[in-house]
Symmetry: C2
């Protein structure tokens, strides 16, 4: 039944290997092995180290003190929401301005040359403009901050899951991300500006909550209490939610996104704060955009994207048609992911130099412009210009006066507007052939674009593809049945198609449903949307995982899912744990600590502290982290110096917080030969009550404990309370359910 592939033997296992280059966008050696988990990723620690210092501080704090802390948390969440809203506003206005200039220029040029002939000059102008925008964006990303590439959602998923992706929440990343997304959307790529908002919100949160910026070397000396992984993670959840909320005008969807991706332990107060941040974010964005659009106070169209309200109803029979959409959605979604998967492997192997990456991005931009142009040129799909026509850049091209080219509306627009047109334009706005060709072309472009070294999201392209074939289906249906009254509105088929396609690609059921419901403002469509998302997910899962999971797996991140694989009851802590474990004594020689920390072949991050005993593993009495030991060594907290330290101040939690989160490497700390002979008393600094499990504990039980409490290290003990092993994230992430039952991934040494 449970088919366990053979274990690889490895020496010197450790939690991870210090801060290294991020791999999320290209393995260093250009090789890729999909059965490997990388050691480069550190884990975050969501379990407070309740050592004496911590307990003393907590006990000193009065009830009032805790109230103040709570208030500060609310203030921070408000700030996060406000700043995220502002950033969304900035992106929106910048994109609108830049795209506006571009389309005006190209439109004038096309109109000029339509009469004289020589439209190839227009094409060149368009392609050059696009490539230029994309080049600037790609250079920023490829040369200055590669982690800012893509939508950022996989990275934030990993962060919330407890994996530390280096540099992912830095200010510089935020700046490049925002700049990059403006360039790529203005550059006409098949991308959306919504995904990056989630990443931006998370960075804002990580920055604001720490009250300092290490990039800017500025410490405001506020919010020092929150300088640890537990608190920071909570704020990052709020930031991600605020990002979703700003992007889609979906505050509840934002909260659910954060919870679906991140929170392992649901906490009511935390959820309220996340919700608060989301609300503030939408509100801020709306408020400033309404001012920008000259209608201050008109708050009824929230979010960067608004799909408009669907007022038309559907009849129950249509539910079955809607339901059938899950199949194309799931299959096309899986196809998207499979192609993108192979493309990404190709990129990892051959396109890992920054200049190549920039060139690929420019190539895609030029090709996008060319394809768009060709399709506009060859289509003669003329539609009368209506009174209520809201297309800003309607092209007449070869159409008669008073008409416009409807293919041009689909391509000659930001993707957001195209989605909206597909949802809401009256029946007859598009002819079926136009839509068919558009679907195909855009699918190819979107697959190719995702994974480029530009900062961009995949939500909107997915929606656009789905809306196109959904609407096509609706039109065909009304042609076949020719009962115009009932099937009058192909827009609702576009909506369901968009949901099916998005579900097939990204597979986040619950939050997506809510996001789509909130973005369309129609609770009525909630049921078919949910049904189609869920079944599209099932169909897609049959072939391949969701796009984000594909990318996470491609980077060999030790990602923990919600539950242990169902057939893993065969395994116990004994088989899963790494052993032997490097332990320290309660009072340990400095030399040994330095040696252990410097040992690059093991590079452990957590060490059980044991009571000295002879010839056998010692009884556990605590757990200490590498980062804590580093701070202790840096401040030379040695027993021998205790007397002289009387004049000095005692080491405080503040010293640990100041070093957080970039603890210096052991190599940078100088320990003299004399000092090596000193002793260090760990009693005060270790966590005296780490969680432990007996060796017989089944894997699902270990997994549940680990996941529910967000642990980084779990000590395995025998029935005498002696340390026999240590379970870390990688030991659990190794097991996953393959086609033939339980499979085990290898642990890479690099």
């Amino acid at each position: 039944m449970a088919n366990i592939s053979k274990k690889v033997s490895w020496s010197g296992r450790g939690d991870d290997r210090g801060e290294r280059t991020p791999l999320l966008n290209g393995a260093e050696d250009g090789k890729y092995n999909r059965h490997v988990l990388h050691f480069v990723f550190q884990s975050l620690d969501y379990d407070n180290s309740e050592n004496q210092l911590f307990l003393e501080e907590e006990r000193r704090m009065s009830h009032m003190g805790f109230r103040c802390l709570e208030t500060r948390r609310w203030v921070i969440c408000g700030l996060i929401g406000f700043l995220t809203g502002l950033i969304a506003c900035l992106i929106d206005i910048a994109v609108e301005k830049l795209a506006g200039y571009k389309y005006s220029a190209v439109k004038q040029n096309i109109e000029k040359f339509t009469e004289f002939g020589g439209l190839s000059i227009s094409l060149i102008l368009w392609a050059v403009l696009n490539s230029a925008f994309v080049m600037v964006g790609a250079i920023a990303v490829a040369f200055f901050e590669p982690i800012a590439a893509g939508s950022g959602i996989p990275q934030i998923k990993c962060y919330l899951n407890g994996v530390k992706i280096p540099r992912v929440v830095r200010l510089k990343t935020l700046a490049i991300k925002v700049f990059g997304v403006i360039c790529s959307v203005a550059g006409g790529l098949a991308v959306g500006k919504e995904g990056p908002m989630i990443h931006s919100g998370a960075v804002v949160a990580a920055g604001v909550s720490q009250g300092r910026s290490t990039s800017l070397k500025k410490d405001f000396k506020i919010f020092e209490y929150f300088r640890r992984d537990t608190e920071k993670r909570d704020f990052v959840s709020a930031g991600a939610a605020a990002g979703v909320s700003a992007a889609f005008g979906a505050p509840v969807g934002g909260v659910l996104f954060s919870l679906e991706e991140g929170a392992s332990f649901w906490n009511q107060m935390l959820t309220w704060r996340i919700f608060f941040a989301s609300m503030i974010s939408t509100f801020t964005l709306n408020f400033f955009l309404s001012i920008y659009h000259g209608k201050p106070g008109e708050l009824s169209s929230p979010g960067l994207i608004n799909f408009g309200r669907f007022d038309s109803d559907y009849i129950p029979f249509e539910s079955f048609i809607f339901f059938s959409f899950h199949f194309p959605g799931g299959v096309l979604g899986a196809l998207f992911n499979v192609i993108n998967y192979w493309l990404t492997i190709f990129r990892i192997r051959y396109i890992h130099r920054p200049c190549l990456q920039v060139m690929e991005a420019m190539l895609v931009a030029a090709v996008t412009a060319t394809i768009s142009f060709a399709m506009i040129y060859f289509s003669n799909d003329c539609q009368p210009l209506g009174q209520d026509n809201t297309e800003e850049y309607s092209l007449q091209l070869f159409c008669a006066d008073g008409e416009y080219n409807s293919m041009a509306t689909a391509f000659f627009n930001t993707p957001e507007r195209s989605v909206r047109s597909l949802f809401h334009n009256p029946p007859g706005s598009y002819n079926p052939l136009t839509l068919g060709v558009f679907t195909l072309a855009y699918f190819v472009l979107a697959v190719w674009t995702y994974g480029l070294t530009v900062s961009a999201g995949v939500f909107i392209p997915s929606l656009l593809i789905g809306a196109a074939w959904g609407r096509l289906f609706g039109i065909l249906l009304s042609t076949i049945t020719s009962s115009q009254s009932i099937w009058a509105d192909p827009g609702k088929y576009a909506l369901i198609g968009a949901a099916a396609q998005l579900g097939g690609i990204v597979r986040m059921t619950l939050s997506l449903t809510v996001i789509l419901v909130e973005a369309t403002g129609s609770v009525t469509y909630g049921f078919p949307i949910m049904l189609v998302l869920m079944t599209a997910k099932i169909v897609g899962d049959y072939f391949i995982e969701g796009l984000y999971d594909v990318h996470i797996k491609l980077q060999s991140v030790p990602f923990l899912h919600w539950e242990a694989p169902p057939t893993s009851h065969w395994l116990t802590a004994r088989e899963v744990m790494s052993s032997p474990v490097t332990c320290f004594n309660r009072v340990e020689k400095v030399g040994r600590i330095v040696d252990v920390l410097s040992n690059t072949s093991t590079n452990h991050n957590g060490f059980p502290v044991v009571i000295l005993s002879f010839l056998q593993p010692g009884k556990i009495c605590g757990l200490i982290l590498r980062s804590q030991l580093i701070v202790l060594l840096k401040h030379k907290v040695f027993v021998e110096r205790a007397s002289s330290r009387l004049s000095h101040r005692k080491l405080q939690l503040k010293d640990f917080r100041d070093a957080y989160p970039r603890f210096p490497p052991i190599q940078s700390i100088h320990v003299s030969q004399d000092e090596r002979e000193c002793m260090m008393d760990l009693t005060e600094f270790m966590n005296p009550t780490p969680y432990t499990v007996p060796q017989e504990t089944s894997l699902p039980r270990v997994f549940k404990l680990f996941r529910a409490l967000g642990l980084r290290h779990l000590v395995v003990v025998d029935n005498e309370n002696r340390v026999v092993g240590l379970v870390t994230r990688k030991d659990l992430a190794r097991y996953h359910l393959g086609k033939d039952g339980l499979e085990e991934l290898h642990l890479a040494q690099t």
Copy 2:
């Protein structure tokens, strides 16, 4: 700082005391002490007992087997949603019919006597009709199933929290609940039919998921795998969500309600299933109601209550006015709770006999009718009958022809319709005096009504009170500023007032916001609604807890909140645990087991199993539950019989599942004197890897472990792994934050 009141000494502490009469609606002895936690409440066990039997079963199961289980879970959730929707439909139609007959009869009578005089006869008719309905409902509740009284939300909160309230999820309870709520709403009480839907959904879930009904003595032999607390709880969450969803047409709100109240460990798959159940429930209700109303397929007005869409916008300046609503909302809400608190204590002391309870309910019904009548009679608030007037029972009374009495619309209607009128009737429909008097009268009636021995909810009355003063405020505002254009719509003030009032009374921020947003279908108002709910909660919390928490506390339920009180870092497991602990040996004498289980002064429910040792506490090697021991004794699984048992079949998990959840008391199991001398081997049946903590673990840490994993027993060990104590729910629930810091509740002996 942390001010701990002195501990009471008590002997014989145990987890609880077997199944007893439920106390949620009246203490037995008529006395009430608010500093006591009762022993009558058993805990639920959300931690699987991973004994050998369980592991063997799990290991036997193939990947396909787990898939089937998962499919079954989805099917069950679909069924739960469907049945809950049907029940909601039944309630809605029954109430509408009955109320329709009643109002028609009274209306005709009033119209008859308006001309001749002698309206007192109409009053008597009205009062008698009301009292008759309420009497029938109250008799059903008081004599047949007292647990069906009230909204049921506190009980479901407790269940999801892990407290077993006897008889709360039985079929009989459901029947009485549904019958009771129809009677009380038709009887014109100031109640809503929404709260009971949540309870109904939970009962449906508990029944369907177990594949049998113990009330009907019918076992369908399906879903046997789900016969344990962990699985059952998950389904009950889904049922509660489906109930909310049906009541308010708010599927997302339902999911959030379940999560806010129940789930400690967020699980993605579970959440999707809950959402699925919610969606099915709303859809079913809509579908059948649309058929009933003769418009099959018109699904646009979901839920039992629909507040109608708010299309009018608000200007940012109004946000500040909306925001100011939190103060009256919080204060009035707290006042409501305080009065109801004292009233409930009065009821516990003096009105604890069923016939008294029925009489009180009838009295309230008669008084409600009288007050309503008086207010209709004395008001001369005539409004012209508009074209689009939707009032079904508009009373002309003393108004001119073509006019109707607007006070009558507020009282002569089900509360749901009244709320809708307050939200949406055009400006000028009500005069300020009418609204003021109405607010006051309805407030008094609602306070008096909640806690009666009838099945009824408090959501709608709260909304109605809030909507009334909110609209009043809006009207006054427009009078003062006399700028009709901007303040034209008092309906939006009614909405925000309703939110503030509801927030002040029940205090569930997140799910309430979403419920209100979904029920009104306006995302735009989400921000002010959230703001007002949150601040109303803060204001209200200053005075007293939320209504449901007040009632939970009044029944001395050991309810665990989300986190340990912040100032509890002073306490460690050593102070919190109960000790000494009754332990069993791995192979134990039957006589001792029977004696321990029969000891009514301790009545423990979980027993650590230890390895035999001399003179000192033994090393822990497992944990066994009372229920498991009972099954073992019943099947006489003794070592001495092992040889003869070769012919018998081996004890299987099925035997434990068949006995679940009503394990027989120890008294019903006959053990002969010979058998008392036999030995029982617990190895196969005990949980070999119970969670343990060292004695130094701080209370917040113990609390987090306990809450995150949904434990019932947590073993405290010393550093030799010897059992020194046991932490149960009551040990943690004892500590709470009072006015003067940390307080400790006493544990009652009964």
